[in-house]
Structures are given as C-alpha cells and as structure tokens.
Symmetry: C2
Subunit: 213 residues, 2 copies
DNA sequence: CGATTCGTTGACGAAGTTCAAGCTGCGTGG
DNA sequence: CCACGCAGCTTGAACTTCGTCAACGAATCG
C-alpha cells in the first residue's frame, strides 16, 4: 500500500452516478481512489459495450477533446482529478497489482490486457480468464467480490447474460469455483481453472505486467 | 501528409522479418514509416493472438522491461526507433487518419479501437467493423489492400480462417463488397455495410478519433 | 512441373443466442 | 409484519451460428 499521487481534486460519488458522460468535453484524467467504475460506449443503435472495469489505483479518462465513453460508478467511491499535463508524473499504486509507471503507460497496459480475453474463443475460457485477471487486480484472498452485474460482464466479454450465468453454474458443477451469493466467487481449484482457461502462469508473470503497446 | 517526427534511427526491414520478439528486452518505442506490421502474443500452449496491425504513422512498442508480444513485418518497410523518454514529443501523422498527440496517447487510442470490434457478437458485424476501420486507417480510395492473411484477421477478431473466408464470400454475394483478388477488398455499398455492422457515422466522427482511456 | 502454402467451400456437430418461464432478494407500502 | 412489485439471476427448449473435419482450387516457388 503506497501513498497515491494525489495532487488534484478529490471527488466523492455514489453508486450508479455518472462520473463523466459520453461526448462530454474532456478535461483531464482521473485516478480511482476507492470504489469501482465501469466504462461504457453507447452506439447510435442503442447497443452498449463495456470497455473496462476500474478498481482503486487505476487511471482512466485520457480522452482528447471529448469523452468517447461514459464512466459510471458501480459502487460508492472517490476519484482524484488530474490536469491533462499531469500525466508525466510517475505513480505508485495502492492496489495490490503494484503497478508503477506513467499514468498513460498504465492505462495502455490495462487496455491491452482487456484485449487478451478475446484470444479465447469459448465462453468458459473467456470467463475464466476474466475471473482470474479480476482476482489478481482486486487482490482479495482466494475470492472475488463482483461489483458489476452479469449483464455488465456479458457486454464486456462479448457474450450474453445467459451464457455468463450458465457458464458460472458450469464452473461450479465442475468444482472450479463456488458462488455463495451472485456477487461472490470463491476459487476452489484455481490452478485447474487457469489451465482450462489456457493461461500459463508465465502469461501472468512479471513480464506480462509490462504489457505491450 | 505531414513530416514525421523523425529523430531516431531509421531501420529497413523485409517482409516476414521479426522487428522485435516476445520477451526481448524492451528498448524504446517505434514509429512505422512505411510498410505494415502485425503484433502477436504467443501463449505457452502455442496459441497466437494478433493484437494489432500497424500502418505508416502508427507508433508501438511502449513496453517497460520486456516485450510482451512480437512485432512481425507483413511487408517490406521502415521504422524509426525512439528512446523511451522521447514520448513527450507531440506528433503529426503522415497517415490519412490525421491523428495527432503524444505517441502514448495515440497508442492508447489505437488499442482502445481494437477493443470495439468485440462489441459485435456476430461474424459479419465484426468483420465489417474491421474492414471499415482498416479502410479509414489505410486511406485508399474506395478499397482496401490487405497486407495480412485470412488467418491473421481471424486471430485478430477471435474467429477462424474459415469463418473469415465464408463471411467475405457472403458480403460479396450480398453486393456489399467485391474481392477481385484475396488481398483486395472494394467497397460497393459502404453505407449499407456500416449500417449492417451496427456502426453509425457518428461512431466514426471526429470525436470518435479522440478515443477513450 | 511437383510441392507447398493459402484460400474457398460443403457437411456436420458443438456451442451460444433467443425465447420463455420461473426464482430470489429487496424495497415499498398497506 | 407481510403483500406486492421489481430487478437481477437462473434454467430449459428451440433455433442459429460458428468451429471442426475434409476435400479441393489457386497461386507461388523451387
């Protein structure tokens, strides 16, 4: 747990609140201090794509000009606002991920990371990869507390809510995970889950943390 | 066509050449001057994920520490190498996209853009979105010259080579495109194609150019 | 002129979406 | 305190799509 790079304005928000909206004029970027946020792009035909979920320590909103997507609070929390030219400052995360570097670099790594989910074509693989990645980022011992709905996950992974629900049930039947409440996932056989997801421990090594571009 | 920000070393490469390899020590980032490049991540189990295709004016390779993915030349071309702390320099693109901004910002926009393809769940929508985006980036009048194979496209979009091939044939039968050679796509009804892809012109407006984070 | 690589196409089966119904938890109000 | 309604989650059945297997065609290169 490191001290964050707090130099901007602290803002508190409630669950469900709009942090910024698609097409709003963009002014600076944000660092999430507590809570969780989803980033959504809305198409003209009404479809929604969930581009990312942010957790404490994540940075987002590096738009130039206008916001390309909406940032919506999944739970109560706080952000710190940074001016656009504040992005030269190296940061240390308070999150358990322990990422460091320029904010823009960290945002790039996070985004590249999301792309990886789509290298898996089947629903169990894609969901397992998501769960394992989220677990690493959230950093709770042996479990996940999901702040988002099934629909959010579905529209993040390019699947339907039904498939997400079915696949979670499947993983439970196989003894991979337990699901005491819809919002909590407990890992039972995490290594097997990773293997079935086609993820090697090497893919998550220190090297994998310094992602691509 | 603007003068590029050439301050580093020019390097020529041949089709098929490895520009940098996964797990190589990372030293600085690259600007593509001519030719085309694919970025691939190889998993321990042998699977390959094509993370991006780069065209002249694009910047890539902002890894910290080690390369997370390989950059492989799809055609003869040239890159300019930049030192790591060279990324504060604002750039003007020579590509027809006309993007500007910090190199890191541009890399982030490019990456976010790739994520959008997966908001479409069906193969025709996903492929159409890819073709329209590539056309915008390549900037040729009314057509695309594909530097990559069907398999490359498939592993970029999370589909198989067969589905790509079938879907191209389908779009041809529907009169959306023509395919005089496997490497050339000519648009016949671009507006219809965009609509069928669920893309509104607004989704590609100036605002969409300043992507998310 | 074979050999190899890449692309196309058909048949089939597995996987995911759609449609539909029902369940659970929670907040509101009688 | 319980009845009700609503929103999110789960599950079954029918249908559609895409991946797999297989064969064949086209282009390239020695």
């Amino acid at each position: 747990m490191q001290a964050p790079c707090i130099r901007g304005r602290l803002r508190r928000f409630d669950k469900g609140e709009l942090i910024f909206g698609q097409d709003d004029p963009a002014s600076g970027w944000l660092e999430l201090v507590s809570g969780s946020v989803r980033l959504c792009h809305y198409y003209a035909d009404g479809r929604r794509h969930v581009l990312a979920f942010y957790l404490p320590g994540d940075v987002f909103g590096f738009d130039a000009g206008y916001r390309f997507a909406s940032a919506e609070a999944l739970s109560d929390g706080e952000t710190v606002w940074h001016a656009r030219d504040d992005d030269k400052v190296a940061m240390k995360s308070r999150g358990s991920g322990g990422e460091t570097g320029l904010p823009l670099e960290r945002a790039l790594r996070l985004t590249e990371n999301s792309l990886k989910f789509f290298s898996h074509s089947t629903a169990p693989q894609r969901l397992a990869a998501f769960l394992i990645d989220f677990h690493r980022r959230q950093g709770l011992p042996g479990r996940i507390d999901l702040p988002m709905s099934r629909l959010d996950i579905a529209e993040h992974l390019g699947l339907t809510m039904h498939t997400i629900s079915r696949t979670i049930s499947l993983l439970c039947r196989e003894g991979m995970i337990e699901c005491p409440t819809p919002q909590r996932i407990v890992f039972r056989r995490r290594a097997d889950l990773m293997r079935s997801a086609g993820i090697d421990e090497a893919d998550f090594s220190t090297r994998a943390m310094s992602l691509v571009a």
